[in-house]
């Protein structure tokens, strides 16, 4: 881990390059996809590391239906893309995952997908119902991590969707169906607790253990749903603890688009969590200091590090390094300790183009350097 102030990390998924989408479908690259591939290869020099996969992709025979070679290339591309931006912690842009909900749920037994649900505007995601007891035949993401570990030049950090979010984003049929009579508030709470704990113990914990056994040292547990029901913050923590207790790794909890004050102090009981990675930039504006909420951690005497969202993932305009530095400066003041600050995007950059996302990441790294030059001393 870097001993500089304000090390930088990614937080989640990246947009899929067109060449990946076509390649995974077994289709030859069109002119736009070829140009995109070649342009990024000139900048990052990644494709020469997997020459057979590159040649197959460019020759229009990207290993047919399996798409494994294309996925390897895409994962390597994301690694080099994040490293080139100057990040200290990286992953593969979740290049092999459909998205953060569907991917883990497809690895488990007990779920049935029901159809598309709107997230916003004309963006949708597939949502599943749990119709039987959650079971996992074999841990997931292990091969994905081993690929990253083998090739990464910066420190890998594995994102894993947390049990509370998986439960909250699913329809609870099985566990709720076991409750008798009217499925009111009390029945729903009891059923949700069973569901979260089963997910944590039967699916996520075995996966974390397998990752750690293969050398994984840093895991980011994504719990974006935590903010939707602040009165269930204790259940978020119960799931987190059930998944991580006794495991030997650094665990980060990522929460976004939430009223963090409403989650405190309950969240502080997440025993193995050593960093909060939270979104702020989206709501930071002139006249509204989004980082002020960090004062709450100080009030509670919490001394964990903070992954500070300093670039907005929902808007195209690229933050200047000066804006990033200003955000870090304010956060350091509210937190009372600059040495506990990491910087990251608010959330995954998947909704931005690769060009915009890279510019934002570079601004993030440059902004951190500006703040470092000003605030000085190394991390403790």
């Amino acid at each position: 881990m870097s001993d500089r102030l304000f090390p930088a990390q990614e937080i989640g998924s990246l947009a899929r390059p067109r060449w990946q989408l076509l390649g995974q479908r077994g289709e030859p690259l069109d002119a736009a996809a070829r140009s995109e591939f070649e342009s990024w290869d000139r900048r990052l020099g990644f494709a020469g590391e997997l020459p057979d996969d590159r040649d197959a992709l460019l020759a229009g025979r990207p290993d047919g239906a399996s798409g494994d070679g294309v996925r390897d290339l895409a994962a390597l591309f994301a690694l080099r893309y994040l490293e080139a931006a100057g990040l200290d912690r990286v992953y593969d842009g979740e290049a092999r995952r459909v998205e953060m909900y569907e991917h883990p749920v497809r690895q488990m037994d007990g779920f049935e997908f029901q159809g598309h649900v709107r997230s916003f505007d004309s963006k949708y995601y597939r949502k599943a119902a749990v119709v039987g007891e959650v079971r996992l035949d074999r841990p997931y993401d292990v091969e994905e991590f081993e690929f990253v570990r083998r090739l990464a030049r910066a420190e890998p950090k594995v994102p894993v969707t947390g049990p509370y979010t998986l439960a909250d984003w699913s329809y609870n049929e099985y566990y709720l169906g076991r409750q008798r009579g009217w499925k009111g508030r009390a029945a729903r709470r009891a059923a949700q607790r069973e569901f979260v704990v089963d997910l944590a113990r039967r699916a996520i914990r075995p996966t974390l253990k397998a990752l750690i056994d293969r050398g994984c040292k840093v895991v980011q547990i994504d719990e974006p749903a935590a903010g939707t029901h602040p009165d269930e913050a204790e259940l978020v923590v119960e799931g987190f603890n059930a998944a991580t207790d006794g495991l030997d790794a650094e665990f980060i909890m990522h929460v976004c688009f939430s009223d963090y004050r409403a989650l405190l102090p309950a969240l502080l009981e997440a025993k193995r969590c050593s960093q909060w990675a939270w979104e702020f930039a989206n709501r930071d504006s002139e006249g509204h200091d989004a980082y002020e909420v960090l004062g709450a951690l100080r009030e509670y005497g919490d001394t964990r590090s903070v992954g500070l969202g300093v670039v907005d993932v929902h808007r195209d305009p690229v933050e200047t390094p000066a804006i990033v530095a200003d955000r870090i400066r304010r956060a350091a003041k509210h937190l009372g300790d600059p040495a506990r600050i990491w910087v990251n995007p608010d959330c995954g950059l998947r909704t931005r183009s690769l060009e915009v996302a890279h510019a934002k990441l570079r601004a993030l790294v440059e902004g951190a350097a500006l703040a470092r030059a000003e605030l000085g001393s190394p991390r403790r």
């Binding site: 916003f120 004309s122 049929e173 009217w182 009111g184 939707t228």
Partner: protein, 323 residues
């Protein structure tokens, strides 16, 4: 017991509409082609509402990105802000930013209503944001205090209702979940009562419905009782029937009896039991039943399965069977 039923929120988009709107975003479909899919999907929802015997019709409000966009994009004083997570689900809305005191633009909201509603305005249910939730979810940079804003939004929504009354519409639902999720107190509560007073006067013989969900209604029940509305709806997935106070002067109440957070279809016997218990505790003789939270949290198939429970429940409650 008199029982009325109906949709209380946008209906889920069909897979055909999901595909069409995605294709439009990606430049693979023309607006005209997508418009044809919208029209077909709206007629399907209207037909479903007829088949289920719904007392009011919505045609699904399938075109609406969220409850507030029609105003944020058309009323003066607003701009459309960043994606913001809805307070109790994994869905997002673009947060309206209020830069100056808002000014209503006549005709702008009416132009965004589902086209099939114009054919039978008297039977339509118009969905509008409640003034308290509207004020609570926006980014207020106008300089107005929160409760002055609730007042102002109440007056503007009342003007909207007046215009729509003039077009023949008669039933207006104000979706106001924050009333129970974050109940207002003191001057804010008074501002809410006055805002609904403005709206109630504008209804002028029509029906005004305040629909809440996303929280236990019991702590807010005294305020809800004071709202000058024809019907106030509470979500029985969030509110324990046994804790609803045994008083109240409304003879008509609204009850959210379908829970769109789960695909598990409700058992009609359970629904009949809780509706009877809630009506008895409130002394109500007429109930409006529907989904509690927004039905578009579900895909269409399980949403229809849930709605299909309502006619059976309605029949049993009307005939007094299966006590």
């Amino acid at each position: 017991m008199d029982v009325l039923t109906g949709l209380t929120s946008p209906f889920p988009r069909s897979e055909a509409l999901v595909k069409a709107t995605r294709d439009l975003d990606r430049g693979r479909a023309t607006p005209d082609a997508v418009e044809a899919v919208y029209r077909s999907a709206e007629l399907e929802v209207a037909a479903l509402e007829r088949r289920l015997g719904c007392s009011t019709r919505t045609a699904g409000y399938l075109r609406w990105p969220d409850l507030f966009r029609a105003f944020a994009e058309t009323w003066e004083g607003f701009s459309v802000g960043p994606l913001t997570r809805w307070f109790e689900t994994n869905t997002f809305y673009r947060q309206p930013i209020l830069l100056a005191p808002p000014i209503r633009v006549p005709g702008a909201f009416a132009a965004r209503l589902p086209p099939p509603l114009a054919a039978d305005p008297a039977g339509a249910r118009i969905l509008l944001p409640g003034p308290y939730t509207f004020a609570g979810i926006l980014d207020n940079r106008s300089g107005e205090t929160d409760f002055a804003l609730v007042h102002r939004l109440g007056r503007l929504l009342a003007d909207e209702v007046r215009e729509l009354r003039g077009r023949g519409f008669a039933t207006f639902q104000f979706t106001d979940p924050l009333l129970v999720a974050r109940p207002p107190e003191g001057p804010r509560a008074e501002a809410v009562v006055e805002a609904y007073g403005s709206i109630g006067r504008a209804c002028d013989g029509g029906t005004s419905i305040v629909w809440t969900f996303g929280g236990d209604a019991v702590p807010a029940i005294r305020l809800l009782d004071r709202l000058p509305a024809s019907v106030v709806g509470i979500d029985l997935a969030e509110t324990d029937v046994e804790r609803i106070p045994r008083d109240g002067e409304r003879t008509t109440i609204g009850l959210g009896v379908l829970d769109p957070r789960t695909t598990l279809a409700e058992d009609p016997t359970d629904v009949v039991r809780v509706v009877r218990a809630a009506a008895e505790r409130r002394g109500a003789r007429t109930v409006w039943l529907g989904p509690g939270a927004s039905l578009d949290l579900l895909p269409p198939a399980p949403a229809v399965r849930k709605l299909e429970v309502l006619p059976d429940v309605q029949r049993r409650l009307r005939t007094g069977g299966e006590r």
